[in-house]
């Protein structure tokens, strides 16, 4: 008995220890650095405590990055869920089982692409002269140039669409599979109750799937926070600072423009605190 009960401990303790070291050490180190004034160019440093944080709140570029991050989060999460639910329901309603399988296979491919590859593919697709995504515009307007990635008003949406292309289609497959797991009788009862097709989904199936759909949304919210690679490849935060999210700005402050590692760390710490608070609050709300 004793040997059997010690087995989980044997497996869990090293793993948890490694995980703890890997996650806690960098976090604590980041907090420590954020309270100093380290720069990449020299090894001298002193403790400046909260001055990095105070500087951040006076930094207009930082405030812009916060706004861009919030916008990015909202746009990608909402668009992904809308696309996923819309396409999922559409497939459920009109596609035959065989066709559904083919669509599912097709819709999973984008998310299997590494982000960087997807970003490059779409960067070419958005090319103003040769891109396939801008081709219809050139065709209609008779050759006018449209460069979505270099216009501040469209750049964020152009990058976000790639994110939605990857995750919205994948989530559509999940929504379809969720719909397929539902018992058919409530849907049939709703048909007898004079509900139209869209009403059946609005009032019966989607509310029945509330819990898994919210979980999906949380997954996407967390995933949207890691948008660095996509934005880095497609716009590098540009044009100007139009797509500069917090992680982009932290990266450029820390490693590209000025090497202010402490300043960047302060941003990372703020982001972590904000994320933890936001998600805790949202989670509590959903659970209630």
């Amino acid at each position: 008995m004793r040997r059997r009960s010690s087995l989980p401990v044997t497996f869990l303790v090293p793993t948890l220890a490694i995980l703890l070291v890997l996650s806690m050490v960098p976090t604590l180190y980041a907090i420590v650095i954020a309270l100093q004034n380290r720069e990449l160019s020299s090894s001298d440093y002193s403790w400046v405590w909260l001055s990095n944080f105070i500087d951040l709140f006076l930094d207009r570029r930082f405030l812009n990055a916060v706004w861009v991050s919030v916008k990015w989060e909202i746009v990608t999460v909402v668009a992904t869920m809308v696309v996923a639910i819309g396409l999922g329901v559409l497939m459920f309603e009109v596609a035959s089982p065989r066709l559904r399988n083919i669509y599912c296979l097709l819709f999973i491919i984008p998310v299997l692409l590494p982000r960087v590859s997807a970003a490059f593919v779409w960067k070419f697709a958005y090319h103003p002269l040769y891109g396939i995504a801008t081709y219809p515009y050139r065709l209609i307007t008779g050759g006018l140039i449209f460069d979505p990635l270099s216009k501040p008003s469209t750049a964020l949406f152009a990058v976000a669409s790639v994110d939605v292309w990857q995750w919205g289609l994948f989530f559509a497959v999940i929504v379809l599979k969720l719909l397929e797991t539902l018992p058919p009788q409530p849907i049939e009862a709703a048909r007898l109750d004079h509900a139209r097709r869209w009403q059946i989904h609005a009032y019966v199936t989607l509310p029945m799937l509330k819990a898994p759909l919210i979980s999906l949304m949380f997954v996407k919210m967390i995933e949207s926070l890691r948008s660095f690679d996509l934005i880095y490849v497609m716009t590098r935060g540009g044009p100007g600072v139009a797509t500069e999210t917090l992680d982009m700005y932290a990266f450029s402050q820390g490693f590209i423009e000025s090497g202010k590692v402490s300043y960047a760390s302060a941003m990372a710490v703020l982001m972590m605190i904000a994320t933890v608070i936001t998600f805790t609050m949202l989670w509590k709300r959903v659970q209630a």
């Binding site: 009788q185 007898l192 109750d193 004079h194």
Partner: protein
């Protein structure tokens, strides 16, 4: 006017035909039960009436209107499902009111009608609860309320009591019967339970492999089964069947089988030209034979005795054939004791051995 008419209705899934050329007409205010073993197509037929399954061929009309291409909601029907099919995320009130809301009935009227229906079915205390907080019987009552509130022309019940335990099933059966008595709505009820069929139905439609085997009142179906399948399916305990050879002796029919010869006047049956038949006797029709009885005897050694309360079911082998007799418990023999049973000519059933069709002479229509 008939409430429901099915004419030449077919249903097939690909190459498999589930229902073939079915003709049926159901009168207004009637309580019709579709009865049959699993897979006989009774639920499919009901779902075709409801519009949840396409009709492959033929025509279905409800209330004089062909409904083949109508949406389920537009057919003037309401359905109660086996597993209740309540909307799990809505309160009982919203469950009942859902259909009315979709029809844009004013909120005040919805409130009034839901309350009225809830009062009829004793659901008032539960209106604010969710379906999962209710017992199976209460949930089924909600499903009935949801069907009732639409004041449909036809009620469809798809094995509504199968998910309930025996006691609750009896209770709900009585409630459904009462409900039909007071509402008088035409009802089609699907079940595989013959007790439900016998107690509830005005008419039973007995189905097998998508074909109607017999239509009739419960008494007709029990007393005059049209063929071997109906005779074997209806009645618990099951009817005894004995293969017999048909002959004439002393101006009477002599049926030889199970190691003995039965002698009948046979006026109720048309046995001319038949040489092999199946003799059917229901276990309750077997009576303990007196010492003086010498004809129509079934005898053997009791090898199984099942106690049913008032009665006991005695099973014995008679000429290699297993035969059961339902006798009053006080007449019950001991296990392994020799038993002798006899029966009246009026209680027998005779079927053609090859076609299985009853050889009963068709009574003249008055």
């Amino acid at each position: 006017m008939s409430a429901i008419v099915c004419s030449h209705v077919d249903k097939s899934y690909g190459a498999t035909t589930v229902i073939h050329d079915l003709n049926l007409s159901i009168e207004e205010h009637e309580f019709v039960v579709f009865l049959g073993p699993s897979g006989c197509g009774k639920s499919t037929l009901l779902r075709m009436l409801a519009g949840l399954e396409d009709i492959s061929g033929g025509e279905v009309s409800i209330g004089g209107r062909v409904v083949n291409d109508l949406e389920p909601g537009d057919r003037g029907i309401a359905m109660v499902f086996q597993n209740y099919a309540l909307y799990p995320h809505m309160t009982i009130f919203d469950n009942i009111a859902f259909g009315l809301k979709r029809q844009k009935v004013p909120a005040a009227e919805i409130q009034k009608r839901v309350e009225a229906v809830a009062r009829t079915l004793g659901l008032e205390p539960y209106l604010a609860r969710k379906p999962t907080e209710l017992s199976g019987g209460q949930q089924q009552r909600v499903a009935i309320a949801r069907a009732m509130i639409k004041t449909p022309k036809v009620f469809l019940f798809d094995e509504p009591l199968s998910n309930l335990d025996a006691k609750l099933r009896n209770h709900m059966r009585v409630e459904i019967a009462r409900l039909h008595q007071s509402l008088k709505t035409t009802t089609v009820y699907v079940t595989h339970d013959q007790l439900e069929a016998m107690t509830l139905a005005n008419r039973i439609v007995l189905l097998k492999d998508g074909v109607i085997e017999q239509i009739g009142s419960p008494a007709e179906i029990y007393r005059q089964p049209g063929n071997l399948f109906v005779a074997g399916f209806i009645g618990t305990p099951n009817m005894n069947f004995i293969d017999v050879a048909v002959g004439r002796k002393d101006d009477r029919w002599a049926l030889t089988g199970a190691g003995t010869t039965f002698s009948f006047e046979g006026s109720g049956f048309d046995l001319r030209g038949v040489d092999r038949a199946v003799l059917g006797v229901r276990p309750p029709d077997l009576k303990t034979a007196d010492a003086g009885d010498s004809t129509n005897l079934l005898q053997g050694t009791a090898d199984l005795i099942e106690f049913h309360g008032n009665d006991a079911l005695v099973t014995f082998a008679c000429g290699g054939k297993e035969v059961s007799a339902l006798v009053p418990a006080r007449e019950c023999p001991a296990l392994r004791a020799p038993v002798r049973y006899t029966f009246e000519e009026e209680s027998i059933h005779l079927f053609d051995a090859t076609s299985g069709v009853s050889l009963r002479r068709q009574e003249k229509l008055s």
